[in-house]
Point group: C2
Chain length 429, copies 2
Amino acid sequence: MSLIVQKYGGSSVADAESIKRVAKRVVETRKAGNEVVVAVSAMGDTTDELLDLAHDVTPIPAPRELDMLLTAGERISMALLAMAIKSMGYDARSFTGSQAGMITDAQHGAARIVDVTPGRIRDALDDGAIAIVAGFQGFNRDTKDITTLGRGGSDTTAVALAAALGAEICEIYTDVDGVFTADPRIVPNARKIDRISSEEMLELAAAGAKVLYIRAVEYARRHGVILHVRSSFNNNEGTLVLNENAAEAAKQEDGSAVEAPIIAGVATDLSEAKITVVGVPDVPGKAAQIFKIVAKTDANVDMIVQNVSAAATGLTDISFTLPKSEGQRVLTALKAEQGDVGFQSLQYDDQIGKLALVGAGMRTNSGVSAKLFEALYEAGINIEMISTSEIRISVVTRADSVNEAARVVHRAFGLDGEGTAIVYAGTGR
Amino acid sequence: MSLIVQKYGGSSVADAESIKRVAKRVVETRKAGNEVVVAVSAMGDTTDELLDLAHDVTPIPAPRELDMLLTAGERISMALLAMAIKSMGYDARSFTGSQAGMITDAQHGAARIVDVTPGRIRDALDDGAIAIVAGFQGFNRDTKDITTLGRGGSDTTAVALAAALGAEICEIYTDVDGVFTADPRIVPNARKIDRISSEEMLELAAAGAKVLYIRAVEYARRHGVILHVRSSFNNNEGTLVLNENAAEAAKQEDGSAVEAPIIAGVATDLSEAKITVVGVPDVPGKAAQIFKIVAKTDANVDMIVQNVSAAATGLTDISFTLPKSEGQRVLTALKAEQGDVGFQSLQYDDQIGKLALVGAGMRTNSGVSAKLFEALYEAGINIEMISTSEIRISVVTRADSVNEAARVVHRAFGLDGEGTAIVYAGTGR
């Protein structure tokens, strides 16, 4: 008997009808002879409605109480799902994060999992029951308080349970058919990816693909959990996210290795801005000094580029990108230390777009960046920054060019499928 | 420093504005130098909305899961109230029933409290914090499952905490000014009662007064908890519910003993029906046989009357009242045993009204029932059944006469106040 963990996002359990549909799918999985554990998000917009209520009461809700409040959301959806399954004649029991043994640190709103002790889940399975677990929530042993895991928390709950229970697979149900070679809203010819390595998935998620959260993918990779991202609205196979060796082996098994794509996909991101520190003295230690100031603001710096200094002046420029929401905070912090660092001025640009090309095949294939740059050149798109990892090339363009850039790059690397892909609709937490 | 437990019903925390108003009141109590524990119901109609959701999913929700679902309601209100208090600069912490140590049996939907271990509440108070506790909910140690206490559960939570923590008083905040000598919607001259014994309050609650639940009053009496029923919409003194000796002492203290009313109040109830078992053989054991059948249906029988048998036939009639909702169940059960019991037929009457006159003074004052019967006779109201306890007289009339009966009895016993009382609006759970 295999153990399968399934995760259903908020859009999959948005109302009573959706919950009944999910219950049917869960029961089918059980009928097929599997043990089933389900992690579930709050219904539809429940979390946002609870947040609105909190802000109606106070502009800055106390974090402990905000977690207490928000965890009511999954409590509702999990109880309803368990009822629906029981009414179909199958035993089901719902468990809060605390009851399911999701032990976290005490950081309310963004708690980290420190241990998973799913004894009650194992007992329920041993009794032949389906276990329904509240996603997104945990419990801190020291304070004995309820915590939440932050954005993407329900994915992480599912993966952590899959790891702790030794599940064969962790199915992430969402409202799209899987992971695509690009966002189909931007690149109509985007294709669903059948298999992708967790490393590639991580890079895509980090570069802006919304379908899976980085944290859940990381957890899955670290614990060898196989993810299957698929739609809760049909029975199509979705995207398997495997650790790299398994992904390679799987590719070879079905003969696809011969034509294994060098590039897994293209991701774009319009949420970032660029800060340029102009006229930095080109002496050792200045970059460190600047990024120490930035780090103190807790900003999430992404790309960093330093130009070669102009010999005549002994000055250089340092540019970096970061989420727009953090821009003003970082500018203020840098401005305050201008005298100490000795730079001339700051430039802020929030009209940038980022495009990332991801593929494990880059490691062994030269010429990928040349092909990328050429495709953009031919389309008349100017590249403002470049940064690379082992399996990713990212470029910054003007914001209004990035969608066109995604389309030309997608075509240039032979990723275009036939016909038009279905359109993303946004995912639950 | 005194410890005060306050309970706020659903109508007192119906929206963000109401929650802020309650927060202000809680903070004022804290500022006055008291330790404060608050038991809170779910916001407004939340519980009904959650019930509707459950019934959209399945006609018969699993009891364990229904409790899991409904407890989301208080989780929301208590977290919001704690946030509101914290935003006013006072420390507050919310606790679920389980965290507050409300240990119950495992009967989902109607769990009984078996132990109260409020260690975390005591710790919070010792830290100078205000403790906000979810009403209505508990925890079973054997199953480790969440339970709910049933109707009136939040009152019971408040009283149980007051008892376990040795509170000076338990304030029950509601949307009326206190306990009235009659329902002001029926008897416009009804007066607020300043002090009432718990025994009288029990009889009034049992006879249909909605402002307090029997169970909470019983718990308070058994553990010597003083209740103060008052409005959350103004600062008026409400009704003190004291155990009998304390009530008498209080009456004497302020000189009101001399004119202590014989009658505390009048209650009416239109929710009952009457079943008459016609032509029962007048031999020993028949009544026992009938009510054993009724008991098996779990029906809540209230008044029972057996007529003297007509000597000629050797047959008698037995009538009893019970909630209308249980009528058909009991009729079916009796019908099935007709041959065995040997009665002639069954009559069902759901057009009855019940009026109860309650007062500890009855014990030492004769003539109360004569005065009651006379008042009804003068108003031309026919009495169909009579039943009495030590401090209560109940009569059954036609349903359409019971409100008029309440008014004439209220007047006859000198309960009418000056002017018109404010009108009841219904209470939270």
